[in-house]
């Protein structure tokens, strides 16, 4: 933490960067929010800990409209998102300076949701909560975001300065496609029932779209009046499916699986299951591909080979 602040203060004071994008304490205990810092004084309120969930990459699109260079603090997952934005020319590489920080997993705020928490802290292997009703502890291992339980490892895809080179070697955890495969094995009826129940919880707040670094069109198809569903509540449980299909489809081949969509969903919809299904299909049908791995090249949907499989025989589910 100290080293992060020192580095960033040095960058600011030496004029290498004009502003810093990082996190500061949020309004509620255990929440951190993205913030811009313009000088060393403001930088004092910067924080970095396991509660810093938000992916900062997307904010660099807006920062690119200002003059000068923006410094950004990136966790490993977030660096893939930024690299993808650089590939798509949404962020200019020479206008950002990246400080790569190690990550040991982010705490899922849902663990202490609706419990009247006054403060949250990590003590050893416990998450310590001070609530209106007294002191409580949760085993830390059970408090991580879903994306952190299947962490892809500590490697950063892009950076200017690496704070902790040894953390780059952090190995991958678990199999992120396990849940997708389980769902694929179910019958059509069961899958439909699952998604019907899941989508019925959607309140169309658009948080998944707004938080997603890959969802960055200047004008979103869902913002126009062309779809008659706008401003009307769904009448049947599966009616928001179009939004979810199209949202997941529009990021296909560009989704780095950073898990922001599922993290921000107020209705706890496992949106990553849709994204990962597409990633899994791309990997099996068109060869392994990790969006954000490189800032060059074509994504699978803007590429082809003459002997691709036929849609009707596609792997299906």
């Amino acid at each position: 933490m100290q080293r992060i602040k020192e580095t960033l203060t040095h960058w600011l004071q030496s004029g290498q960067v004009d502003r810093v994008l990082g996190w500061k304490e949020g309004d509620m205990p255990g929440l951190r929010e993205p913030a811009f810092f313009e000088n060393a004084e403001e930088l004092k309120s910067l924080c970095y800990d396991a509660f810093c969930g938000p992916n900062l990459s997307k904010f660099l699109i807006a920062a690119g409209e200002k003059d000068g260079v923006t410094a950004v603090v990136l966790k490993p997952c977030d660096s893939y998102s930024l690299n993808e934005l650089i590939r798509e020319n949404r962020v200019q590489r020479d206008r950002v300076k990246i400080l790569a920080v190690p990550c040991e997993g982010n705490i899922d705020p849902r663990v202490f949701e609706n419990r009247g928490v006054l403060s949250v802290s990590i003590e050893g292997d416990q998450l310590h909560l001070t609530t209106l009703y007294g002191e409580e502890n949760e085993p830390l291992a059970r408090c991580f975001l879903e994306r952190c339980t299947v962490c892809r490892g500590g490697r950063h895809a892009v950076y200017d300065e690496l704070l902790c080179p040894e953390a780059e070697e952090t190995p991958q955890k678990g199999d992120r496609f396990e849940a997708v495969r389980e769902l694929e094995e179910k019958s059509e009826e069961e899958r439909y029932a699952f998604w019907q129940e899941t989508f019925s919880r959607c309140i169309r707040c658009n948080a998944c779209r707004n938080a997603c670094p890959a969802c960055n069109c200047r004008e979103c198809v869902f913002d126009g009046a062309a779809l008659d569903s706008r401003q009307k509540a769904a009448a049947v449980p599966f009616e928001e499916s179009l939004f979810h299909i199209v949202r997941a489809y529009h990021v296909t081949g560009r989704c780095t699986d950073c898990g922001e969509c599922s993290r921000v969903c107020p209705s706890h919809i496992p949106l990553h299951l849709l994204n990962r299904k597409m990633i899994l299909d791309i990997n099996t049908l068109y060869g392994p591909y990790q969006a954000g791995d490189s800032d060059k090249g074509r994504s699978p949907l803007t590429d082809y080979t003459p002997d691709d499989c036929e849609p009707n025989q596609g792997k299906g589910a």
Binding site: R191, D303, E310, P311, A317
Partner: protein, 145 residues
């Protein structure tokens, strides 16, 4: 005498201007029959079809959607159908993952000389969808006022 109610599916067929639409034309001028439930929408190329077009058709009450284009390698614009092929492969896979019957969506390559093939593809597809019955899963009643 009771009237036997039979279900006639609504089928939307996106046909590329250069091959499949001409194939449909040939089917017509060769007097081959295919069901009148197939509504053809002519598109410049199969890759002009945004996946949203298919989904919108289902939302508004289509029971099956088929996309027809030139055979791979024969695209008028050289590569359009290759892109369409990948797009539709992933879209169909996602629909199936969500529990939509995969028989309701199809891609077929029909050239301008294959009028007979056009008719048989349409007969087969309409027959398949007819067996499945009406598509309620992707319907959106908000779009149908």
């Amino acid at each position: 005498m009771p009237v036997k109610e039979s279900f006639t599916p609504k089928i939307v067929a996106f046909c590329c201007n250069w091959c499949s639409y001409a194939g449909a034309d040939l089917a017509g001028s060769s007097r081959l029959s295919y069901p009148a439930d197939v509504k053809i929408i002519r598109v410049p190329c199969s890759c002009r079809v945004n996946p949203m077009f298919l989904l919108r058709a289902f939302q508004k009450g289509a029971d099956g959607v088929i996309l027809c284009g030139c055979h791979p390698g024969d695209c008028h614009y050289s590569t359009g159908n290759y892109y369409a092929r990948r797009r539709m492969t992933l879209l169909f896979s996602m629909l199936s993952y969500l529990g939509i019957e995969k028989e309701r969506t199809r891609v077929e390559w029909v050239s301008a000389a294959e009028g007979a093939r056009f008719a048989s593809v349409m007969n087969d597809f309409v027959g398949t969808v007819q067996k499945l019955g009406p598509c309620r899963r992707l319907e959106d009643v908000r779009c149908k006022e």
